[in-house]
Amino acid sequence: MTPLVELSGVGRDYLVGGSLVRALVSVDLAIEAGQFVAIVGPSGSGKSTLMNVLGCLDRPTRGSYRLAGVDVSSKDADERALIRNRLLGFIFQGFNLMPRTSALENTELPLVYRGVGKAERRRRALSALARVGLEARVHHTPSELSGGQQQRVAIARALVTDPPLLLADEPTGNLDSVTTYEVLALLQALVREAGRTVILVTHEPDVAACADRVVTVRDGNVVSDVRPTAPEDAQALLLRARLRAEQVGSS
């Protein structure tokens, strides 16, 4: 079976102030469909660059990147936009929702660029929002939602096109521990039940502990790639965190 993601010898260089910075040196990485992969590493390790390459936002300087069997490293800007729309869903640390725009319209947006009709857009957006538990908040704008709710809208937006690969860049970086586990439980469930693939960048060990596989990046290279025998169950951690919060609240 061909892996969903296949990087071989991928490197990315930048010119910063006249000197060459090798953000990625040479990365070989294969990710099968249905995995929950965490990419960890200190800041400056190259994990964000790796994420941008994986997300077809950036092109590698060298090496090849095959996504769902297609070589995407050679595609032009419009083709990469199409790939982002069809094959990828993004979840960002800062949520990145459109301001002054309802949760429903935010969720519909990827379908707008796909050219889906209004009624069909609405139906699919409502179902994606229901999947993340926000059916009661569809007409709220981001400023009327909590951080956790905003991130769930962002997840609904990533899910609405039903892409095989979700990319989450520090998705819990701005969230407290209860909402962190809410989001992680949601991502874990999406992998378990629907066979989706999630690649998550984080520098928090607690978050990485929930993944099926942890890839560590340092100085532009993959330095370790481990598959924990028993990943943490985010749902259980969520219940524990809620309980602790209640105890703190009542005492």
Binding site: N52, G55, L57, D58, A77, D78, A81, L82, R84, N85, R86, F90, F92, N96, L97, M98, R100, T101, L109, P110, V112, Y113, R114, R157, T161
Partner: protein, 400 residues
């Protein structure tokens, strides 16, 4: 549709800024529209005035100007000149002559100073006058130099008010005349009120109004067969008169020939210059408005760099982003254009009522407003929109 609602939302989020930008376009487009309306209005007025006199009309009058420091005393036109033109100028269909003197005219009710004109029988046909009431002069009245007059409606109003004028009596100098006809109203030309006149046969005029005038005529008016014959008719008249006045090849004309065609050309030349000048100023205003649009769109793109990054990350192509910002610019300029039509309607009315200018705000002017505002939106919106579309998604997402 979606691009439109996104653009609308973006503009509403920065209302004051959008309104100020629209104001710039509004002023620019209404300036252009007013100039266009001014041009069409003035052209229509000139055409109407010329049609009133007759587009084929040619006027000949003696050149009484100074020449070489000495007055050319012999310069005069006579009945015989008119007769020669009538017989020999093939491009001319009709000739009439008339003399005019300003004089005070008395009725039983009032007195009034007007033009008392001595005319020949062809006057009515060549000048295009018709009768509202009564009749023109009969041949026997012309021969007998009878004391009968035909008056214009302005004179009738001044002297008789609402009373019927035909059959009434008028006194001019020592003589009393019977009113036998009233001219149909003809309106004003740039030079005169065509209804402000008292007409009598030229023979009667010469013996009673101005006994010293002899066979002289102040003006010969000829009408060319069609307005296309005007130039040829002018040339024929000039040759006939030069021969009759025995002017050698080295002597200049002692008369002046003026045609309505020439008048139209002169008027249109002035008009073209004025509208050209005003148009240039209006375009400068529009250009400044367009620069305002470009400026504000650049600000908008800079402010929304992150938004562009997000849109790109979820699958917006360069053309989607380009279109989004272009639609926003077009929304600014076309709303300026539509409001500009309103403003130019107000300005046109003010100019018309206040200064008596004739402006015509027609479909053409509205088309000009809409098309210029769309053009300005495209020209000044494309650069900011391209800047947004060419953003690197990684860089754009890092912003803000």
């Amino acid at each position: 549709m979606t691009a439109l609602s996104v653009a609308l939302r973006a503009l509403l989020a920065a209302r004051v800024r959008a309104l100020l930008t629209i104001l710039g376009i509004l002023i620019g487009t209404s300036a252009v529209v007013v100039v266009v309306a001014l041009g069409t209005g003035a052209r229509a007025r000139i055409s109407a005035e010329i049609a009133n006199i007759g587009s084929a009309a040619i006027f000949v009058f003696p050149d009484t100007g100074m020449r070489g420091g000495a007055r050319s005393g012999s310069a005069e036109l006579t009945d015989q000149d008119a007769a020669a033109i009538r017989v020999d100028a093939s491009a001319v269909s009709g000739v009439t002559v008339w003399n005019t003197l300003r004089a005070r005219v008395h009725s039983n009710f009032d007195s009034y100073r007007t033009s008392v004109m001595g005319i020949d029988q062809e006057y009515f046909a060549v000048r295009g006058f018709s009768m509202a009431e009564g009749r023109t002069f009969s041949d026997s009245e012309v021969r007998a130099k009878a004391k009968v007059v035909v008056i214009g409606s302005t004179v009738k109003k001044e002297l008789f008010g609402p009373e019927p004028a035909v059959g009434q009596w008028l006194r001019i100098g020592r003589h009393t005349y019977r009113v036998i006809g009233l001219l149909s109203e003809k309106g004003r030309t740039p030079f005169e009120d065509q209804d402000d006149r008292v007409l009598m046969p030229i023979g009667a005029w010469r013996s009673r109004i101005s006994p010293a005038s002899g066979q002289r005529v102040q003006l010969i008016m000829a009408s060319a067969k069609t307005s296309a014959h005007t130039t040829r008719a002018e040339e024929q008249i000039r040759l006939i008169l030069r021969e009759r006045h025995r002017l050698g090849a080295d002597l200049p004309d002692d008369f002046v020939v003026r045609s309505q065609e020439g008048f139209r050309r002169a008027q249109n030349a002035i008009l073209d210059m004025v509208t050209g000048l005003l148009g240039a100023v209006a375009l400068v205003a529009l250009f400044i408005g367009g620069v305002g649009v470009m400026n504000i769109m650049l600000v908008s793109v800079a402010e929304r760099t992150r938004e562009v990054g997000i849109r790109m990350s979820i699958g917006a192509r360069e053309t989607d982003i380009l279109l989004q910002f272009l639609v926003e610019a077009l929304l600014l300029t076309t709303s300026g254009g539509v409001l500009g039509i309103g403003l130019s309607a107000i300005v046109s009315r003010a100019l018309q009522n206040g200064l008596g200018w004739s402006l015509r705000l027609d479909g053409g002017a509205i088309l000009v407003a809409i098309s210029t505002s769309i053009l300005v939106g495209l020209v000044f919106g494309i650069l900011p929109a391209r800047r947004a579309a060419r953003l690197d998604p990684v860089e754009a997402l890092r912003q803000g």
